[in-house]
């Protein structure tokens, strides 16, 4: 990756963090993915964002749920491998308790172009989300802000978790 390219990813991350802040998100937690690398790096290096490194994706959802109950808008970041760990918490906590969280999930295995461990989840990701009726957005670089706005609107109105799937070359 060229230096310019890496700089571009950092600029995308910085801008996106700004959009999240504008929407009122103030509590962040998750488990990293290289595709979300610059975004998490930005949270870690900016004192204005509270980012808690977590041990597992389900625990991150639990932590973010607590932050929401205490009055904050909360966001969970994870790789889609961790979406498997998250299923029980999403269905037996967030969805039935009406805990609206923003989930920013990396889309490893998109179009079957990835390491073997990512291929099945990559292939089934959108079907799983659809089966669970979880509102999902898959932004391009151009629609990042617009899709965040739409996800936030669903979250506020329906009090449900919503997912933004992030493909490569946006934040990492």
């Amino acid at each position: 990756m060229s230096k310019n390219w890496s700089e571009e990813l950092h600029i995308n991350a910085k801008n996106y963090a700004g959009f999240l802040k504008e929407k009122g998100y103030s509590f962040f937690t998750g488990v990293p993915c290289s595709l979300l690398g610059t975004l998490i790096e930005h949270f870690e290096n900016s004192p204005e964002f509270q980012y808690v490194p977590n041990v597992r994706e389900d625990a991150a959802l639990g932590l973010a749920t607590g932050a929401y109950l205490a009055g904050k808008k909360a966001c969970v970041l994870m790789q889609n491998s961790g979406f498997g760990y998250s299923l029980n918490v999403l269905t037996s906590l967030n969805m039935i308790y009406k805990i609206p969280l923003l989930l920013i999930i990396s889309y490893r295995g998109y179009l079957g172009n990835d390491a073997p461990e990512h291929l099945i989840m990559g292939d089934k990701m959108t079907k799983l989300l659809e089966d669970l009726d979880i509102p999902t957005f898959i932004p391009s670089l151009e629609t990042l802000e617009k899709d965040l706005e739409r996800a936030d609107e669903v979250i506020e109105k329906q009090k449900v978790p919503a997912v933004i799937l992030i493909r490569e070359k946006i934040f990492g």
Binding site: G62, L63, G66, Y68, L69, G71, L93, I96, Y97, K98
Partner: protein, 185 residues
């Protein structure tokens, strides 16, 4: 001492502070002993009560936040002990009622007769860790612990739950959310 007896001593000391209750018998027993609007009953997502409590504690440092957990639940989300130990919120009080069994599913054994949960909490970095002694008074011990710096971990060994279980949590999950959020505002 059984879960119900322990709760009867603990609950009067909680004031109007938020309390997150573990999945299964513990939520039901807490509701049975004394329902408070500041109780958040976690009916699914076993293990998550301590993560939820931590999220509240980090966001509301002015309140003491209690988690009433069980041994099976701690073992299931043991990773959260590391998150607590790393962040060290002073206002986080983790009480574990340890009956060495999955009471809700028929008292099958957990691993806590062998694994020292209090030592695990200490190794993860909880500031104050105490295992209630067999001849110790629970109320006195908890009152003393509440004056010390958190995060605090209190392990209470309780006898097997052989009595008839308390009724299921009455409120609908979304109602629990609404009532709890209003109560702790």
């Amino acid at each position: 001492m059984k879960t119900r007896d322990a709760l009867a001593q603990i609950i009067p000391l909680l004031g109007a502070n938020p309390v997150v209750c573990a999945t299964g018998h513990i939520s039901r027993e807490v509701q049975g002993v004394q329902h408070r609007n500041e109780n958040f009953y976690v009916i699914g997502s076993m293990g998550m009560c301590s993560s939820i409590g931590l999220g509240i504690a980090l966001s509301r440092p002015e309140k003491k936040v209690f988690v009433i957990d069980g041994d099976g639940s701690v073992l299931m989300n043991m990773g959260n002990l590391a998150v607590v130990g790393a962040l060290k919120p002073k206002n986080f009080i983790h009480i574990v009622l340890d009956n060495e069994a999955y009471a809700s599913t028929g008292n099958q054994k957990t691993l806590s007769s062998v694994v020292r949960l209090d030592e695990v909490a200490r190794a993860n970095g909880y500031k104050t860790v105490h295992k209630l002694g067999t001849d110790e008074n629970l109320k006195d011990a908890l009152q003393k612990l509440l004056k010390m710096e958190g995060p605090t971990f209190l392990l209470i060994k309780v006898g097997p739950d052989t009595d008839k279980a308390a009724p299921r949590v009455k409120a609908e999950p979304d109602e629990i959310t609404e009532v709890f959020m209003t109560a702790i505002q």
